[in-house]
């Protein structure tokens, strides 16, 4: 006996849901993370530590040995990468996964260290920085989402389906972005 269109609709809805479960989680989790860029760094945990520079002041030549000696004091000697003076009053030292910026007038320095947030870094990378292959895959995902959304409307029939309760809920879901759009524009 031939299967009904509703059967195939259900199969499509269900199997696309399975296939793109991973992409949904990646986009949903990183979407929340990236929505709040102003409040935090979603990819890196950033720590700051105030340190004291006792070396030469503004304008003086600062040697690598002096910088290494300073890094030794703060336990970052092995992390040294490079240093330079962005301005006459400032010294910037690059260290592995971070930097030290020193005000040569006051001697106050701030060590900034970065640590990738597990899982979030990878999810955000995929969400925010697509390369070609991921772009293709995410395009497929977007098409699948549309199909899942449309087939989802037709999974159930009857009073809880799209002709009953489903219509009200679907309308509500469309109304929310419409209202926000009206408010913003």
């Amino acid at each position: 006996m031939a299967k009904s269109w509703r059967y195939w609709n259900r199969v499509l809805h269900r199997d696309l849901g399975y296939v793109f479960f991973g992409a949904t989680i990646i986009y949903a989790v990183s979407g929340i993370a990236l929505n709040h860029l102003d409040d935090w760094n979603p990819s890196y945990s950033v720590t700051h530590q105030v340190v004291r520079w006792e070396g030469p002041g503004p304008g003086a030549a600062i040697s690598k040995d002096q910088v290494l000696g300073f890094l030794d004091e703060i336990g970052e000697r092995d992390a040294y990468k490079k240093h330079y003076n962005p301005t006459r009053e400032q010294l910037k030292i690059f260290i592995d996964s971070g930097s030290v910026v020193i005000d040569l007038y006051s001697g106050k320095g701030v060590v900034e260290k970065l640590e990738r947030r597990p899982i979030l870094y990878e999810f955000n990378f995929l969400h925010y920085n697509p390369k070609r292959l991921w772009t293709w895959y995410s395009d497929m995902y977007c098409v699948a989402l549309i199909i899942v959304a449309v087939t989802g409307l037709l999974v159930i029939k009857g009073t809880k389906g799209i002709t009953g309760r489903g219509a009200w809920l679907t309308g509500f879901g469309i109304l929310i972005p419409a209202i926000l759009l009206w408010m913003y524009l």
Binding site: D15, L16, V19, L37, N41, Y84, Y128, R132, W136
Partner: protein, 191 residues
């Protein structure tokens, strides 16, 4: 079961057609490059000083240049700046499609970058087009349109990008300004 497989298989095959898995982040000493069908022009190796000094002469050309990464854009790593021995000598590098994004850990590393030199002309028409775009457009995207190094550093979300550019034009006393960047197709971290 058969019906389920009928649905699932084409999707999986399509996904597999993508080929290789997502590239791993670049390890030190490795070249990040995308295999593209059309081979790019042979890059000219140029000194950073020459590129900064005569950028207009290199527009639309493929160049390779070496410098120290001074700053990687905090919001997504789409851009970085390389500098020479003189920190005033800086050049903006954008992550091409093959790169995706730069990791912040690159700051302080010496890198050799290959890419196409691009010119963004900022004039009234450009600024008007910026303003005409969605008012709520994310500032990150706004400055991605070709804003200058200074705006990049300060992330124009804190101010009005268009007004900032207008002010720069006024300060410069001209109708237009050019901002240059290198659209990076590959880079190598120098040990």
């Amino acid at each position: 079961m058969k019906q389920s497989m009928l649905i699932a298989l084409p999707v999986l095959v399509l996904a597999a057609c993508g080929g290789a898995p997502i590239d791993e982040p670049a390890a030190e000493g490795t070249v990040v490059e995308e295999a593209v069908a059309e081979a790019p022009a042979e890059p000219q190796v140029v000194e950073l000083a020459a590129l900064v000094g005569s950028t207009a002469a290199y527009v639309d050309q493929v160049v390779t240049v070496t410098g120290t990464v001074d700053h990687v854009c905090k919001h997504g790593g789409k851009r970085l700046f390389i500098m020479g021995e003189d920190p005033e000598m800086r050049f903006k590098v954008t992550a091409g499609e093959a790169i995706g994004a730069f990791e912040r850990e690159l700051e302080g590393s010496d890198i050799t970058v290959t890419g196409i030199v691009e010119e963004q002309i900022i004039d009234e028409a450009y600024i008007d087009s910026l303003e005409a775009e969605a008012p709520a457009e994310d500032a990150e995207e706004a400055h991605a349109e070709g804003a200058d190094a200074e705006a990049e550093e300060h992330h124009a979300g804190e101010g009005d990008q268009a007004a900032h550019l207008r002010q720069m034009l006024a300060d410069n006393g001209s109708d237009s300004m050019s901002f240059y960047s290198l659209d990076c197709s590959s880079f190598e971290i120098i040990e």
